[in-house]
């Protein structure tokens, strides 16, 4: 995570802060941890398009898991 590197610690933290701010601006719904994971994945060259679709899918899956519970409630 952001605290991993001591040398670039500050730079990384700053970057992450900026990104978190952008994320908040764009209303992505990502928390700090998710965002950092996503950033790392992106840095490894993963297709952001695919990644975004995965995240959406996961959210939807968790929603559907919750939905019936809601209904039954």
């Amino acid at each position: 995570m952001a605290s991993a590197s001591s040398a670039n610690l500050n730079a990384v933290r700053e970057t992450m802060d900026v990104l978190l701010e952008i994320s908040r601006l764009l209303n992505t719904g990502l928390d700090m941890e998710s965002l950092s994971i996503c950033v790392r994945l992106c840095e490894q060259g993963i297709n952001p398009e695919a990644l975004s679709s995965v995240i959406k899918e996961l959210r939807k899956a968790s929603e559907t898991l919750k939905a019936p519970e809601n209904c039954t409630n």
């Binding site: 719904g29 790392r40 060259g45 297709n47 952001p48």
Partner: protein, 905 residues
């Protein structure tokens, strides 16, 4: 960031999954696997890596939402990010954030739009096909409003913009259905519908992402009409209905002849059928049973090839047939593997996104139609070819090529080209090298290894009629047989060492089945030409060798000259020389004496100028002696034949020649005898004029002799001109025009047969021949009778002359001319002699009578003969109707035949 990079994407993904769903690692295993697959299948980004474009898009998006302040803030943040330089893939992160962004003014749509987003994202993102690679570039950046377009569509209704995926979106319909629910939950319910469609298929195939039937089934699920793909595979137990997808999976196995889960081979019905206990709708049952026919056909073909491929005795043709079947099966397997991978892709997709591309039984029915027809053809072929091999098999395959269906014909033609390839190879080896490499007796030329070289041409090679492929005509097959036989004959019998390539300008042989196919398509043209060329060259070469090195034609002429008495001076001289020898009893004859005489005769006549090769073959042969035979009966000329010549002049032929020679020799002897008789008559006529009492007898002799001379002359004329010369001319023409040795042999046999039958030597004219023999006997008897007559007459004449001389002498000596005693003795002797004359007379008359009756009978037989030339002979013999006047039967029969002929006209 070095440390950040240490973790692999998979680990990161897993923690992401946990984080978002809020579950433990174990629980998110399915989602994780799915995520890995999507990411993995889409590793390369399909969008342009342009940070600027992405930021511009973000700004635009913010502006659209009327958040100018936020846009400015974003620009500031972005600038900061750029200065940091920590991130390498800034655009990537930004793009991710952009695509995850939501309009904060529509919070309620947040959950609901996942379905819509996902539904659209999947065909675009989850696919790994190039089709999708090409699209987003224009879509995402071309009009640059992908996100906004999405949100717009979300804002209104998914129906118009999302088309077939409308159900996935938060459409008004579910909302109205769920009127009682709060909006949030309504929006929350909608996705399950979408996800139901989306997840059903992957859930049925890969349980990794299955959300469980219990959770997946929403309250409104049962009422939904679209139940086709709903049931996962595990539902297919005896209790519930089997889904089509499960059947498709089964069918794909059945196609390969493997029992499926529900569709099994039923041994009693000998077909694949769905277990009757399994509940499945009738249409599916029907369709799958129709499809499973393929499995049955496949099994049939497989069984055949498996059984045969190890059977060595099945032969090359059979092996190539199996190979061609294998080839077809391989194509079939390839198709199956495509189908399998298609199914796999559907499984992997996890969603039934594109119903048009799904595998269904009906679709399979259409797709498998052609393969089915092919397999059916193969199975029919296999059935038809059962128990056949070699050329027979090729014929069977060829028979199936005669169909109007071009596809089927192409298939069969292909198989045929493979199957006939070994046959054509045999054929070329045979007609160009004369070698028969037919270990399994598949070729239509058979060789009998027991036959010695002297019978090579006639007996060694034969056609196996059943093995002649139907695309090769009988005529071609015969030619092929002849070509190879000629080559072998040249090598083994003629000891001709010419390499086969020199005889025929060897054309290239078929090395590949493709050549064979080409040749097959042009059987009348190129193939025929090839065979004809080889046939022509080989036969011509063979005849050349036979004529040049083995003097075939000279031998043929020698046969005519010596055995058929064509060389007149030689025969006459030989007869002259042999006469004293042959008059003796047969038992006292010695071959070496006769051989010596023969040589003398050769040296004394024109025969000496003949080829030494021919003369040395000429020999004397004594037939078997039966008691009472004279030399005339057993003597015959012989002609030794061996080597290649013996192929034409076979043992049977020589036997025929011998018979003909004996007949001709006998006829010739009759002529010879009659000449002697005539000579005797001429010489003695003057001497015996002094004995007027003899004139009656002598007259009788003359008449009979001339009758005989007439008869024999006509016979000789008939034999020489009507029989020998005509047949010889025919033979010679045929031999000159002969294209192959068989023609010569055939012509020669025809020649001999005609001679034999025309010379009355065949079985049909045995009675005629007997009559003729009797006539000949009469001639000999007449000769004996006349000889004894002349002998006694001349003896008497000599005695009378002696008596007269004595009287004269006595007178000169002055004695009594004759004493009474002497006188009386003389008188008595003369009287005795004169008393013998009537006896001779009657003997002659009997002889004449006998002779004439035989001739008449002979004529009667001749006129009733079926051979025209024999009827002409009878006409010639009885030209002045001498016999007709005497013989009522002759008159009747001649009249009858004439009458018949009139009526025919």
């Amino acid at each position: 960031m070095a440390t950040l990079d240490q973790k692999s994407p998979n680990v990161l993904l897993q923690s992401l999954c946990c984080r978002i769903t809020g579950k433990s690692e174990a629980e998110v295993a399915q989602q994780f696997q799915y995520a890995v697959r999507v990411i993995g299948s889409n590793y390369a980004p399909t969008i342009e890596r342009d940070e600027f474009l992405v930021t511009e898009k973000i700004k635009k998006e913010l502006l659209k939402q009327r958040r100018e302040a936020d846009a400015a803030l974003f620009s500031e943040l972005h600038r900061k990010l750029q200065t940091q330089g920590v991130l390498k893939h800034r655009w990537s992160v930004l793009y991710l954030l952009l695509s995850l962004s939501e309009d904060p003014r529509k919070p309620s749509s947040r959950v609901g739009n996942y379905g819509a987003l996902f539904a659209q994202a999947l065909p675009r993102d989850a696919h790994s096909t190039p089709f999708y690679c090409a699209r987003p570039q224009s879509l995402a950046l071309g009009y640059g409003e992908r996100s906004s377009g999405l949100s717009a569509s979300m804002a209104t209704s998914g129906i118009s913009s999302l088309g077939v995926y409308a159900l996935n979106g938060p459409t008004p319909t579910p909302q109205s259905l769920l009127a009682g629910h709060p909006p949030q939950s309504a929006a929350g319910v909608a996705p399950p519908m979408g996800s139901r469609l989306a997840w059903a298929l992957p859930a049925s195939s890969s349980p990794s992402l299955a959300l469980g039937p219990a959770t997946i089934r929403p309250p409104l699920g049962p009422s939904h009409p679209n139940t086709r793909a709903v049931r996962p595979r595990q539902d297919g137990d005896a209790a519930g209905e089997v889904s089509e997808a499960a059947l498709v999976r089964d069918i794909l196995y059945v196609f390969q002849g493997i029992d499926g889960k529900f569709i099994k081979m039923s041994t009693q019905d000998n077909c694949y059928r769905i277990d009757s206990k399994v509940m499945v709708s009738k249409s599916l049952r029907d369709t799958s049973s129709r499809l499973s026919e393929l499995g049955w056909l496949h099994n049939k073909v497989c069984k055949y090839t498996d059984a045969r491929s190890l059977d060595r005795a099945f032969g090359l043709v059979g092996q190539s047939f199996c190979a061609s079947l294998h080839q077809e099966l391989k194509e079939y397997y390839r198709l199956l593997s495509v189908l399998h991978s298609q199914m796999q892709v559907e499984d992997d997709q996890g969603v039934n996104v594109c119903t048009e591309n799904n595998l269904t039984l009906r679709r399979l029915l259409v797709w498998m139609y052609d393969p089915k027809v092919r397999l059916k053809t193969l199975a029919a072929l296999v059935d038809f070819c059962q128990g056949r091999k070699g050329g027979e098999l090729a014929s069977a395959v060829h028979a199936y090529g005669k169909t109007g269906d071009p596809q089927m014909r192409a298939l069969v033609q292909h198989i045929l080209s493979l199957v006939s390839h070994p046959i054509l190879n045999f054929l070329y080896r045979w007609i160009y090298d004369g070698e028969l490499e037919d270990t399994y007796h598949e070729f239509f030329v058979a060789s009998d290894p027991n036959v010695k070289t002297d019978r090579l041409w006639h007996d060694k090679y034969s056609l196996r009629k059943s093995m002649i492929p139907s695309f090769i005509t009988m005529d071609q097959a015969r030619k092929v047989l002849l070509i190879g036989k000629s080559i072998n004959f040249l090598h083994q019998v003629c000891h001709d060492r010419t390499p086969p390539g020199k005889i025929t300008p060897a054309s290239k042989s078929t090395d590949t089945p493709k050549d064979a196919a080409e040749l097959l398509s042009d059987l009348e043209g190129a193939f025929q030409e090839k065979i004809d060329a080889a046939y022509f060259d080989t036969s011509k070469y063979l005849l050349d060798v036979l004529n040049r090195n083995y003097l075939l034609l000279e031998h043929l002429q020698a046969m005519r000259r010596y055995l058929l008495l064509g060389q007149g001076d030689f025969i006459r001289h030989l007869m002259d020389l042999l006469k004293p020898e042959l008059a003796r009893p047969a038992t006292t004859l010695y071959q070496h004496n006769l051989t010596g005489i023969l040589e003398t005769a050769v040296r004394a006549t024109n025969a000496q100028y003949d080829n030494v090769e021919i003369l040395k073959r000429l020999d004397v042969r004594l037939l078997e002696v039966s008691p009472g035979d004279t030399g005339w009966d057993v003597f015959s000329l012989d002609y030794h034949v061996d080597g290649p010549i013996a192929t034409v002049f076979t043992r049977e032929c020589m036997g025929h020649y011998l018979r003909v020679f004996n007949f001709l020799w006998r006829a010739k002897r009759m002529e010879y005898i009659l000449t002697d008789i005539w000579k005797g008559q001429m010489c003695n006529a003057k001497l015996l004029k002094t004995m007027p009492e003899l004139s009656g007898v002598l007259h009788q002799c003359h008449i009979l002799a001339s009758e005989m001379v007439h008869f024999i002359h006509q016979m000789q004329y008939y034999i020489t001109f009507e029989v020998l010369e005509c047949s010889w001319d025919e033979l010679w023409n045929k031999v000159q025009q002969a294209q192959d040795l068989d023609h010569i042999i055939a012509a020669h046999e025809v020649f001999l047969d005609t001679i034999i039958s025309r010379c009355l030597l065949d079985n049909n004219s045995r009675s005629l021949l007997n009559q003729l023999r009797a006539i000949f006997d009469q001639i000999i008897e007449f000769q004996n009778a006349q000889d004894s007559l002349y002998r006694s007459a001349l003896e008497e004449l000599a005695l009378q002359l002696q008596f007269k001389e004595k009287k004269q002498q006595n007178e000169e000596e002055g004695l009594w001319r004759v004493t009474a005693e002497q006188e009386a003795e003389e008188k008595k002797r003369i009287r005795e002699f004169q008393e013998t004359i009537p006896k001779m007379c009657s003997q002659l008359r009997i002889l004449t009578h006998f002779y004439q009756s035989i001739v008449q009978q002979f004529l009667v037989l001749l006129t009733t003969s079926s051979d025209e030339s024999l009827r002409f002979l009878s006409f010639r013999l009885d030209f002045n109707e001498h016999y007709r006047a005497r013989e009522p039967r002759l008159r009747a029969s001649i009249g009858a035949t004439r009458g018949r002929r009139m009526s025919n006209v």
